[in-house]
């Protein structure tokens, strides 16, 4: 170490002089910057890009032999590229998007515990609630980017494979390609509602477990188990209120006229899942002792 102390000691702040303080925006920008350094970020986004491309390739190689799959829009995969993002939304709800979301939401607090850096950032000039807000916003941003990116790649891949053609709605009416494109993007936005609930669950597990692997796996397992609940005998009555069901709410947009009921239900059901989880994570983070690391 050099013998000189270049910065010298602190001088007392004169009374009444307010230092310019960082805020939630500072945390948000730096959490985004940190994501750029981490492999898991690219794993998730890579999966969101790769899966639609694989689907498009599968359509290309198999559409003559295997027509349709018996699910919504499966018959249209080879007729309109705009069907592909909708099929991705259907299959992505099972594990793809919950896993991608969990990769960041489940890790964002737990990794601070793992690295011992929570004590480092909590002894700077930011309040705990500001750090929480910044991190939660970044987890939500990542989830939104993954879904929108996956959807956009699916639109492009589907269009390349099957053309930018009109789409038949779930009510049997034909929707023009531009209108269908608009509906696809609105569907992606509606899809973000249950995704936001998954983000909140990931944040809760991240703060509770303080372990990235446990939080990521836990979030994914919750998502899978709640789908199982819907198929268990005698529990079919719970189906409309399961988080997994809300991943299909966007289908209301593809009916004529638009069926808003599943969308409205998705909003409040997801709020019932997400808000308590988020509040729990917030309170735990605010009050927890930082004793490790």
């Amino acid at each position: 170490m050099s013998a000189t102390v270049a910065s010298g000691p602190a001088r007392a702040q004169p009374a009444g002089v307010e230092r310019r303080r960082p805020g939630v925006g500072t945390v948000y920008r730096w959490e985004l910057a940190k994501l750029r350094y981490q492999k898991r970020t690219y794993l998730g986004l890579g999966a969101a890009i790769l899966v639609p491309i694989l689907f498009a390739l599968a359509i290309h190689f198999h559409h003559n032999r295997h027509r349709g799959g018996g699910f919504a829009f499966s018959d249209y995969l080879s007729r309109s590229g705009l069907a592909l993002p909708l099929v991705i939304l259907l299959f992505g709800a099972i594990w793809l998007f919950p896993l991608i979301v969990a990769l960041v939401a489940g890790d964002i607090f737990a990794s601070e515990d793992h690295n011992g850096t929570l004590k480092t950032i909590l002894t700077r000039s930011l309040e705990r609630h500001q750090i929480f807000a910044g991190k939660a916003l970044v987890a939500a941003t990542y989830a939104a980017v993954a879904v929108l990116l996956g959807g956009t790649v699916a639109i492009i891949a589907g269009t390349v494979q099957s053309g930018f053609n009109s789409l038949q709605s779930l009510s049997g009416t034909i929707v023009s390609a531009p209108k269908a494109l608009e509906l696809v993007y609105v569907s992606l936005l509606v899809y973000l509602v249950p995704i936001a609930a998954i983000v909140c669950l990931g944040l809760l597990l991240s703060t509770v477990t303080r372990n990235s692997a446990a939080a990521i796996v836990g979030t994914l397992m919750f998502s899978l188990l709640i789908q199982l609940v819907g198929v268990l005998p005698g529990l079919s009555g719970t189906t409309p209120y399961l988080l997994s069901t809300q991943f299909n709410a966007w289908q209301g947009l593809l009916r004529t006229p638009i069926d808003w009921e599943p969308i409205v239900r998705a909003v409040w059901v997801c709020a019932l899942y997400g808000i308590p989880a988020l509040a729990g994570a917030f309170l735990i983070f605010l009050r927890r002792d930082v004793a490790g690391g």
């Binding site: 170490m1 102390v5 909590l122 002792d289």
Partner: protein, 331 residues
Amino acid sequence: MSSALAAIEVRGLVKRYGKIVAVAGVDLTVEVGDVLGYLGPNGAGKTTSLRMMLGLIQPTAGTVRLFGRDPLASVRALDGVAGFVEAPAFYPYMSGRRNLELLAAFDGAGARTRIDSALSTVDLVGRAGDKVGGYSHGMRQRLGIAAALLREPKLLLLDEPATGLDPAGMRDMRRLIRRLADDGMTVLLSSHLLGEVQEICNRVAIIRNGRIVYQGTIAALARGEGTIYHLATTDDGHAEQICAKQPGLVDVRQENGKVAFIAGQTAVDELSRALVENGVLIHELAPQMVNLEDLFFSLTEGDGTGPLLADAEALAAAPPAQTPGPVEAAR
């Protein structure tokens, strides 16, 4: 002595984890300009109390004030305060400089402009672009100091900053802390290195079983309050009886075939006269200064009520002529 302007004022600080009491009621005052050595064996409660001082842990009871402000109420209490607890931690996937940029952003108030000088101070300019994951422990310690300097602290809390450093690194760390202190920074230095504390601190606090058992100045130790004497005479049995009756002498005992006791210089002068008057001739009357190590082990080993603590209390209560300076004994 304490006031709202004290750099650190801790009162009745308690932390319990279930039935385990990690900190059992710490009272500690660090005045502005102090360089306080914070000593204690492993598990004594040093790190837990430091974490409470920085607002990382909520105390079960008691209060902490940093320059009069409560770190639990708002992080604004940490304005002008910096340091690290246990090993400083950084994001391993980012470079040292990038870590400092992040922390400077979290500090605000122009901290970013101090990154280069902080890196220069800790001699990390050449490795600032490398990922922290590849840093040695010593480099991380130095980066921890650099991160602290970004805040232009008035108060620096350091937990074992020399741990893991090689001898040259330890020497440089000592010099750096000494220089910061000389420039007016208040420092709380938690350390196991008693020589280091004795060299760079002006005050010392010793914690054991979650309580402060001694607070005092290094100068008080150096002045000889509580000096141990060893006495050899022509008649040690008689000499011990005389010592036992002599005012100003405490903890009179046989030790290694000699009479040992603790006293101030004036009391020893009176003892010499008393021995001669009683026909006991002195073969040897040798002082052994009580250093920090003696004090530390006396207070932290065994039942923790070793003779030096009792002696310190006794000397503090003795008349001023026999105890030339104040001794702040633990209660």
